[in-house]
Symmetry: C2
Subunit: 366 residues, 2 copies
Amino acid sequence: MSTAKKQEFVTIIKRIMRKISDDVIKQNQMPILDLPKIGYDNTVWSDEKRMLTTGDKKIEVSPDSVKKIPTFAQYLVMANAVKKLIDEDMESTIRGMYYATLSNVGDGKNRQKFWTGQEDSDNAIKAVELLTGIPREEFSVTSKPKGMISGPIKLRVGGDIIDCNLGSRATSQLIPTNMGDVQIDDVKADFVMVVEKDTVLNNIRKSGFIQKYNAILLTGSGEPDRATRMMVKILNEQWKKPVVVFADADPWGLGIALRYKIGSESLSYDSERLVTPNAQVLGMMFSDIYQYNIPEVARLTASDEDINRANDMKKKPWMQNKQWQKELNLFLNKKEKCELDAFFKHGFKYLSETYLPQKLRMVGLI
Amino acid sequence: MSTAKKQEFVTIIKRIMRKISDDVIKQNQMPILDLPKIGYDNTVWSDEKRMLTTGDKKIEVSPDSVKKIPTFAQYLVMANAVKKLIDEDMESTIRGMYYATLSNVGDGKNRQKFWTGQEDSDNAIKAVELLTGIPREEFSVTSKPKGMISGPIKLRVGGDIIDCNLGSRATSQLIPTNMGDVQIDDVKADFVMVVEKDTVLNNIRKSGFIQKYNAILLTGSGEPDRATRMMVKILNEQWKKPVVVFADADPWGLGIALRYKIGSESLSYDSERLVTPNAQVLGMMFSDIYQYNIPEVARLTASDEDINRANDMKKKPWMQNKQWQKELNLFLNKKEKCELDAFFKHGFKYLSETYLPQKLRMVGLI
């Protein structure tokens, strides 16, 4: 974390503390902290920004908060632990933060654990995040990195330059979850291709796709973490690289593709840093199943959950264009889905040498 | 895959085919292929090799194999698909191989799927592996890489040199699952420290441990894949670097630590390439819970499964020394376990600046 960022964090924490002591001492009232409410019931679509954003519902952290809202003391203990983590310039997972703040309170018969479980401390971390406006990755509460990147791009990680083109037929670079540790140093690629799954990326990588099309290949390995989404956004908006996304032809895969393009309900409060409205979701379309003759034996039957999801998607404001409505209707009619891996039925190179180039040509990228 | 390896694979496949046609045409008998039986009931401990090895039980692949043994036709179809994958110099997952070989057989009322599910094709891949003696990663049927490495070591991956010391406070290099793609180019480290979990590695990495002790940090992210085990073995036996292993203080963690040192039942047929008998399992010992005053609130209660596992371990030939017996007895007596992360209770740097150095000093490594 940079010194300026550290200072910002500490300043915010102190300001909140001051407000609390004012409440208690000067106003003689119980302190209350307002947090933006998170989740589907406080997520709104912005036509102007073309992304999911947060509404104005609030929740209150108070000395006697219940359920998922951390109590006041829990919030304070966690804020303090985070400050310590920052001061020591160390890194921890959410589980590590749980251990760091574990204790028993009270004594004798009233003795009990400060956290009833890790879920409590996770919620307290979320509260610190929301109150300071700084995502937890930036105060070094990190997760296992899921994002991977290969191609003509150089990253500056912890002061060193890592060239993601080295060995890029056989390996990828992890995208550190703490984007504070990473800067993009140089990008020579013409465009960025995001694929849903790392296993599909490995296949494409091996084919020489990166070299042939001067592309960056990137994956979030399923649900993308924040660093991965942020990386995509920076490549598109600061480095002006077109971004295309490919996922499985099922409502789940389409949902993941849309995380990059419009955001997600659980992170809508952070959309402005994470979402790439200009990303193009190019495939796999439901119509591709038939267009590319995926044999019946390689198609999968849609589950009830898939159908519900698709019906739900059809009504969303961001799906109100002819192409998506047609695709979703086709899916609801045929009730069939398909993984990108199914192209292997046509040969191990079909995906990277036939399907993807055809799609990229359609939008003039190659 | 190198040209020599490719040739080897094709030669073995052809030899097997010839044997089959001999059986059918010359001997006029149903062809049968013998496979070594895999699993706990055909795993034997070798005192001499100090590792788990395979016994001499066999299973037979025949035209009418049942259950987990692939039928003859299934084996042939898969061997053919693998040959195609090699010829095209491509890479696939086991799921990709399933798709590549999917089909319907028979017609009309008898029409049915060639595989009843992916499990069938997975078993056929295993059969190809066992019959050729070449692990699937080496014919480019790969998995998501789980192994990560940081520190003063250079890898040659797909022809390029990757320096694992770059950015090593903030990121790690993935260990490609296909070790055929990787060579170790240079090792400047004094020793190799393996930790069970990647999240713990991130914490240690961040502290500057690598620079301070000139160490390689390596993790298999839980259950290590073959490439990770192989990397550890090569570093120990070819590069003569001492290897120490740290895992959580529970029977599960101890089991993972022992994968590196003695092998595993499911891969005992491949132990000679995977196992590092000279690796030292240094922690976390059950006695460390008390030695290092892990407070009660940060300890976990052992489950029945843990207890059974520990009782089972106590009888194993490789656990017959005073120290392990004492540790397991302590665990069975106290019924408490502990994660390495629990050291965070003593401060975010305690693990890397106090616990680990003390352990390493005990064996004279630092």
